[in-house]
C-alpha cells in the first residue's frame, strides 16, 4: 500500500536554510544542498524548499541551489515562495522542481491555480495555506502569517481544489513552532471538505505527534516539519522506524 510521507521543509534565505518560530526570529541553520543530501540519505520521502528571499539576487541564488539539489537528489521536490505567475512556475520547474507550491500568489491572483493546473497538470500544483483561528473560525492569513485576509480558510482550500490544486499544505499558525503536536482539529476539518492529498504542517515536536496524526486521521497523507528535523531533535530514520513499528505504512 501507499505509504505516509515524512517531509522536511527547508526555508531558504540568501542561500541558507533558516527556520522561524511562529514565523519570527529567523535563525540560520545550514547549507541547503548539504541538508538535502543528509535528508535523502536519512530516508526523507520528499523535500520542500521555500524561497523566503525577496531580492532578485536571492532569487537567482535560490534557483542555483535548486538546480544543484535536483541534479543529485532523486526524490520529489516541491518548491514554493514568491510564486505569482506561470513564469515563476516555469522558472522552478526547469530547475528540477516536481511540484510548485502557491500561497500568497494565489491569494493575490486566484486564477494562477487553474492556469497552472491546465498547463502542468493538477499533480504539479500544491496549494499552501497559513491558517489561524479568529473568533472560533479558521481564517486564511497572508504575508507569512502576518495578515488576516478575511477569507474563510476551509472555503478557500475547497475552492482551490475545485480549481485544480492537486495537493494541500495545511499550515497552522496556532501550532507552528510550539511543538505541541499538529493542529488535528484543523486537519480534520480540511479532510472532510477536500479529497486531494493533505500535508500537515506546523506543530510537530516529537515522534508521537506523527503517530497521533496518522493513526487518528487517515485522510492526512504526509507530515511536514522543519526545525525538529534540522536540529536532529527528531531523526527521520528513527521516526519512520517508530511509525512502521506502530503500524503506519512507511518506506524504509
Amino acid at each position: 500500500m501507499i505509504t505516509k510521507r515524512i517531509i522536511p521543509c527547508l526555508d531558504v534565505k540568501d542561500g541558507r536554510v533558516v527556520k522561524g518560530v511562529n514565523f519570527a526570529g529567523l535563525q540560520d541553520m545550514a547549507d541547503p544542498v548539504e541538508m538535502a543530501r543528509y535528508y535523502n540519505a536519512a530516508g526523507a520521502d520528499e523535500l520542500v524548499f521555500y524561497d523566503i528571499t525577496a531580492s532578485v539576487e536571492g532569487r537567482a541564488l535560490f534557483t542555483d541551489i535548486l538546480r544543484r539539489v535536483a541534479s543529485e537528489i532523486f526524490i520529489p521536490l516541491t518548491v514554493g515562495g514568491g510564486i505569482r505567475t506561470l513564469e515563476d512556475f516555469d522558472r522552478v520547474l526547469k530547475c528540477g522542481a516536481d511540484k510548485v507550491s502557491v500561497n500568497s500568489g494565489a491569494i493575490a491572483n486566484p486564477a494562477i491555480i487553474p492556469a497552472a493546473a491546465q498547463r502542468y497538470g493538477d499533480q504539479c500544483v500544491v496549494l499552501s495555506a497559513d491558517i489561524k483561528r479568529v473568533d472560533g473560525k479558521f481564517m486564511l492569513f497572508a504575508k507569512g502569517g502576518r495578515e488576516n485576509t478575511g477569507i474563510d480558510a476551509l472555503d478557500w482550500l475547497e475552492q482551490g481544489v475545485r480549481n485544480g490544486a492537486g495537493e494541500l499544505v495545511v499550515n497552522s499558525i496556532d501550532t507552528d513552532g510550539v511543538k505541541g503536536g499538529f493542529d488535528l482539529e484543523l486537519l480534520d476539518a480540511v479532510a472532510k471538505r477536500c479529497a486531494v492529498p493533505i500535508i500537515a504542517s506546523g506543530g510537530a515536536g516529537k515522534p508521537e505527534d506523527f503517530l497521533t496524526l496518522f493513526r487518528g486521521y487517515p485522510a492526512v497523507d504526509a507530515g511536514l516539519a522543519a526545525s525538529i528535523f534540522h536540529t536532529k531533535q527528531v531523526g527521520i530514520r528513527d521516526l519512520k522506524r517508530y511509525l512502521r513499528q506502530n503500524g503506519v505504512e512507511m518506506r524504509l
Binding site: 501507499i2 505509504t3 535523502n40 541534479s71 543529485e72 532523486f74 526524490i75 502542468y120 487517515p218 497523507d221
Partner: protein, 205 residues
Amino acid sequence: MIAIVDYGVGNLFSLTSSVQSLGAEVCVTSRAGDLRAASHILLPGVGAFADAMAKLTATGLVPVLKEQAQRKPLLGICLGMQLLFAQSYEYGAHAGLGLIPGDVCPLADDLRDPALKVPHIGWNALDIAPGRETDPLFRYVHSGEYVYYVHSYYAKHCAASTLATSDYSIPVTGAVRNGFVYGTQFHPEKSGDTGLRLLKAFLEL
C-alpha cells in the same frame, strides 16, 4: 549514448540528471538520427494522453520509435509508459503507439476502497509478478522496495506484459515489458536509490 525523447511534454531535468549520475552519456533530442544512433531510448511524459500523443506525432518520431523498439531497449516512464499501449480512455478513446497490448483506463473507476485518493500520489511498494523476479530490469531491485507514483490512469488488460504491480486496493500496473519495450508507471528518476538501481539495470540491457 542514451536518448531521452524530447517532444515538449514535461520536465526532463531530473531524468537527465539521474541518467548522468549513473555515468551514462545523455542526449535530449527530438531528432530521428539520434534515436537511431542511441543504445537505449527513454520516453518520458507527464500531462494528458491525447495532448502528449499529438505532440509526439507532430515530431514525426512515431514511426522511428516503432522501428527502433524492435532493435534496442526502450523505456517509457509514467505517461511515456501509457503511450506504449494500444489505447487510452483518458477523456475519450485515443490510440497509442501499440507497442504493448492493453488499455489505459481511469483509476477512479476501478478502486475498491472509496477512501483512496486519485491521483495515486506517493511511495508504494513494488510487487514483482511471479516468475518475473529474474527479469534483467530487476537485477538490482527486489519485491517490496518502494517507488514513487503520480498518476490518475493505469494500464489494464495487459497481464501477459506485466512485470510488477503496486497495491492500491487493486493491483496497479507498475512495470511492463514486451520484448525490448519496457515501461514503468512510477518515476524511477524520483524513486531515490531504488529508482537509480532500476535505471542502471535498464541501461545495462
